[in-house]
Chain length 199, copies 2
């Protein structure tokens, strides 16, 4: 084998990037999160994984609600700002036009292409399942309502090619934002071309 | 507000794509999974979220191990094939050159750019936390060893620009594979340019 053993790491290439919103002490706060993942279709379940240190966690636990907002590539600076600056030290409640929906306590970003209003249904604390010193909460939410402008939809559903989301990836010591690239095939379809070859 | 309420959905744009490997009845099986997510750095924890119907689950539960293999864009057809064809009906043990590592029971793909050997440490069943009829397992694994060829590394760590991973995204009713696009900024850095404007 020509492979090297390399230091085990949390290597997931690439990830999406979202702005997670929560009300902390009745004030909207937003954090940039790359560890976000789908889990179920009906009801729709999505998790975000948040470092114990994040200010947003306080609001998620208190209200049992949060929002997931999808920034477009034009929002790269403000998205990154939300990841750099903690709500403990700066007030992020006025950097976006904020609106609320059915759950009343999950602040959403008007400027974002897509807003998912989530009710917290389950939490996993990595400190309880591993011997980590850092600690992350995996907050699993049920999407109770979703919002998007017409220009980001096709046949009433979000169209990723219209949204043009950010893509995040750790490349060695650098962590970069990327655009999505060109389409290279239809999923659950292009594999039909595969011809099994006996090794 | 100019936003439409749209049908709540599991909208995560975009996602990575990995080939998850497990030994089922002592035979290597692989499935394509887009719901994969990082959770912790030390020890490195990553989850994959797998529909209850998947054959791979049997092996993950039996051996308490699995692998996460990162396909390159050249592997798009065979990756999709693994997502279309279930191990219940086709034998996928010979479509790749397979190797095993420290855990002995987590089959890994020689052709993949990156291989993560994982020990199962925690499972969440979406049927136990929601009223879904479908059901997915969130298998959280600790990465105990990682493997990659020199050509995919920079300073000993995986380099996403050398790996050229697949990107998956649901666009309305279509689900497509994409390439990664161009870099648009350094994360935890470009946000320093953001100038707060009073709304």
């Amino acid at each position: 084998m020509t492979k090297n053993k390399i230091t085990p790491g949390c290597y997931v290439f690439p990830t999406p990037v979202v702005l997670v919103g929560a009300n902390v002490n009745d004030k909207a706060n937003f954090n940039a999160i790359g560890w976000v993942c789908g889990h179920e279709f009906t009801p729709p379940l999505i998790s975000i994984c948040s470092n114990h240190a994040h200010h947003t966690n306080v609001g998620i636990k208190e209200n049992q609600t949060f929002s997931i907002n999808t920034p477009t590539i034009e929002m790269v600076e403000i998205t990154d700002y939300c990841g750099i600056k903690s709500g403990k030290s700066v007030d992020k409640s006025e950097i976006f036009d904020v609106f609320y929906g059915e759950l009343k306590t999950a602040p959403m970003i008007e400027e974002a292409a897509l807003n998912l209003e989530c009710k917290l249904i389950h939490t996993v604390d990595t400190k309880e399942i591993s011997n980590t010193k850092m600690g992350h909460y995996i907050f699993i939410g049920e999407v109770v309502q979703a919002y998007a402008e017409e220009k980001y939809l096709s046949n009433g559903a979000p169209d990723v090619e219209k949204i043009k989301p950010l893509v995040l990836s750790s490349s060695n010591s650098k962590v970069n934002y990327y655009e999505m690239g060109k389409e290279i095939g239809r999923a659950w379809n292009i594999g039909l071309n595969y011809k099994k070859e006996k090794k």
